[in-house]
């Protein structure tokens, strides 16, 4: 049994007079102890709502309905009452948010905010708590921790704030950490520091980490398993290497083709996905990605595609997945060839023969020698 088992999670917002929004529409994934699981997708794919629903942090409002299960170590987090959920939150499951400034209380010193967590969940008080807080700040790489304890959030830089937030999150040695775009607001050199820190925490303490991000590069370096979300559903789930080497779902293929790579040459055109996230088909009517998909066939419309599981534990929700190079030669699905492809995009069939568009196939130049 995995540490966290999310099963068919759905979140709907319905308001009178407006269309019901299915922000999360049957998401399932699992996280083992010490594992890093990525939830990847663009804005509006439901990745953040998923994490908030698991944590029970969705703002209570009429019309909000959360369905499915999120079993953490035997208890369904979604069924807990507020009190026991608060107990679990912070102690067993902790969360890191995108914007460290708004997640920290601006009028309370950092130290007090850390000791508060220690007092609540570990019953520590006074000097002991302060000592532990300083040790925590030190652990997350905040220099001169004793002095920082007395400072207010605005006196710290963005990177230091995020470290402080991580210190609070790991204060009680949680078994599961959910990081929602933890580095999006940070500069890239600071991002590198924070990612390195998160990796260390996972490695040293065996904490499971759910990494929510839009950045495929971050995922490539961190996650063991990756779930790609689109319009509220997991469209592809795979281990890290297979996903980047042989993406099956056309959306994953498209995402990878959209990212300019540092190690690609000048002048190579990107292969964007046409249209925008707004052009979705409601899932019950077929594949939500179909309107933008370059591998669209007739079967895409009518009913939602089932999750296809393959031998190596990967899965994709697609009736006409991108072929794995070598294994399915000449699989022709050509009678309904793509439509409205934007200028610059190539037909999907071309992709397996076109190394630069499938990252991982091309000779990846190594980093410049630094020493």
């Amino acid at each position: 049994m995995a540490l966290l088992e999310v099963d068919d999670l759905s979140v709907t917002f319905s308001r009178r007079g407006q269309r019901t929004v299915r922000a999360v529409d049957g998401v399932s994934f699992s996280v083992d102890a010490g594992e890093v699981v990525g939830l990847v997708g663009e804005s509006g794919c439901g990745k953040s709502v998923t994490s908030l629903a698991i944590m029970g942090l969705l703002p209570k409002q009429p019309g909000l309905a959360v369905g499915g299960k999120a079993v953490f170590d035997g208890t369904d987090l979604l069924q807990l009452d507020d009190r026991s959920r608060r107990d679990i939150r912070g102690r067993d499951v902790a969360m890191i948010f995108q914007d460290p400034l708004s997640s920290l209380n601006p009028v309370i010193p950092i130290g007090l905010q850390v000791t508060e967590v220690l007092a609540r969940h570990r019953g520590m008080k006074g000097a002991a708590a302060e000592k532990e807080a300083a040790a925590l700040l030190d652990r997350v790489g905040i220099p001169d921790p004793k002095r920082r304890l007395k400072e207010y959030p605005h006196q710290l830089s963005g990177g230091m704030r995020q470290r402080a937030l991580i210190a609070m999150a790991v204060a009680c040695k949680p078994r599961l950490l959910i990081a929602d775009e933890p580095t999006t607001a940070l500069d890239v050199t600071i991002q590198a520091q924070i990612l390195e820190l998160l990796k260390e925490l996972v490695r040293d303490s065996g904490t499971a980490l759910v990494m929510i991000t839009h950045d495929l590069g971050v995922v490539a370096g961190m996650c063991d398993t990756i779930n790609v979300l689109y319009a509220g559903r997991v469209v592809e789930t795979a281990r890290r290497r297979p996903l980047f080497r042989e993406p099956r779902h056309p959306y994953t293929v498209g995402l990878l083709g959209s990212v300019p790579r540092l190690d690609a040459g000048r002048g190579e055109r990107l292969n964007p996905i046409p249209g925008s996230v707004r052009d979705v088909l409601p899932w019950p009517d077929g594949c939500a990605f179909a309107p933008r998909c370059s591998r669209r066939v007739d079967e895409c419309v009518g009913e939602p595609p089932q999750l296809v599981l393959t031998y190596d534990g990967r899965g994709y929700r697609c009736v006409n997945p991108a072929p794995v190079p070598g294994t399915e030669p000449g699989q022709e699905v050509r009678d309904t060839v793509p439509t409205q492809a934007a200028p610059g995009s190539v037909p999907a069939q071309a992709e397996p023969n076109d190394p630069p568009t499938v990252p991982g196939l091309g000779p990846a130049p190594s980093e410049e020698e630094t020493a």
Binding site: G17, G275, D279, L281, A290, P291, D298, V301
Partner: protein
């Protein structure tokens, strides 16, 4: 499959072009705000109250059963010391202490109340927007003179703001002598600083926005940018504030009348005066105080509901 494929493709193409309803015209922000206003129950309640109020104020005086100044009670000998007749078939809300028909007075008083509220708010809006607009434009254009004009105007506004509003209104009313115009001016002046600060602040924040920079980089002249971009985008909060100010203006005008600084022409009934008169007879006929008070409260509520709903509808943060 081959038979249905055409249909399916059609369907999917239609769905793919969900956004491409090219026959429709665009929806401007005001239209969008109005749509959302229409869906907000608070806005509808507020609008209904105000519509009723305006109808009563405009046509009411022509339909009332009695003249509001006719002292029927005294003529008919119904008013005796310690006795004021209550509700009966002829007089729906009874008579007041001078034997005048309370219902008629209430209806005719609505017009006065509306007039004072609207005119004083317009005075406040006009003067405040002028000061705020000049200050905002001066600050936006910058330069030494711009900053000087801006800070001079704003210090003046700060001084006005430092005085309690009712005290300011009372002083002005006392200074100018009691009259209807005085009430309007006094209540209007009180709201000047609010409008001035609001418009200036809004203009300065708009002046720092990217689209103003974009217009500058297009080569548009600064005065034209101020008029075509900055001012129109700064107006939304001012309009909301005007609606909310109508509510306070009505209350303040009533307060001035209550203090005896209202319209000295007693032939025109006014809710504040009616309230003031009624306090001597609270033990005999408390209703005389309740009716005008309710009128003031409900009207102010109507304006507030509508104003708050407008604020919500125009708030860019709540827009999807």
């Amino acid at each position: 499959m081959t038979i249905t494929s055409g249909k399916k493709k059609q369907k999917i193409d239609r769905l793919a072009e969900l956004a491409a309803r090219d026959d429709e015209r665009g929806v401007s922000l005001w239209q969008e705000a109005f749509r959302r206003l229409r869906r907000n129950p608070a806005a509808i309640v507020g609008a209904v109250i105000l519509a009723l109020f305006v109808v009563v104020a405009v046509v009411g005086p022509f339909l009332v059963p009695y003249s509001p100044t006719d002292t029927i009670g005294i003529r008919d000998g119904l008013i005796k010391p310690g006795v004021i007749p209550g509700i009966d078939g002829d007089h729906w809300l009874g008579l007041d202490h001078q034997g005048r028909d309370e219902f008629s007075r209430l209806v005719v008083g609505a017009r006065q109340t509306l007039l004072v509220g609207v005119v004083s708010t317009l005075i406040g809006l006009a003067v405040g927007a002028l000061i705020g607009g000049v200050a905002g434009a001066a600050a936006g254009l910058g330069g030494r003179w711009g900053r000087w004009i801006d800070s001079t105007l704003m210090r003046f506004i700060d001084m006005m703001l430092a005085m309690p509003s009712l005290l300011l209104a009372v002083s002005i009313a006392a200074l100018l002598g009691a009259s209807l115009t005085t009430v309007m001016i006094a209540v209007g002046v009180v709201s000047v600083p609010v409008f001035a600060r609001l418009l200036r602040g809004s203009m300065i924040s708009q002046a720092n926005s990217d689209y103003v920079l974009a217009a500058t980089s297009l080569g548009v002249r600064k005065p034209k940018i101020a008029l075509t971009h900055v001012v129109p985008n700064s107006l939304a909060p001012v309009i909301v504030q005007a609606t909310l100010t109508l509510a306070t203006a009505i209350i303040e005008a009533a307060a001035l009348s209550f203090l005896g600084l209202g319209n000295p022409d007693t032939s025109v009934p006014e809710w504040g005066v009616m309230l003031a008169d009624a306090q001597q007879y609270l033990d005999i006929r408390p209703g005389l105080a309740v009716y005008p008070a309710l009128g003031i409260i409900i009207t102010a509520l109507g304006f507030t509901l509508l104003g708050e709903a407008m604020r919500e509808a125009l708030d860019p943060k709540l827009r999807k």
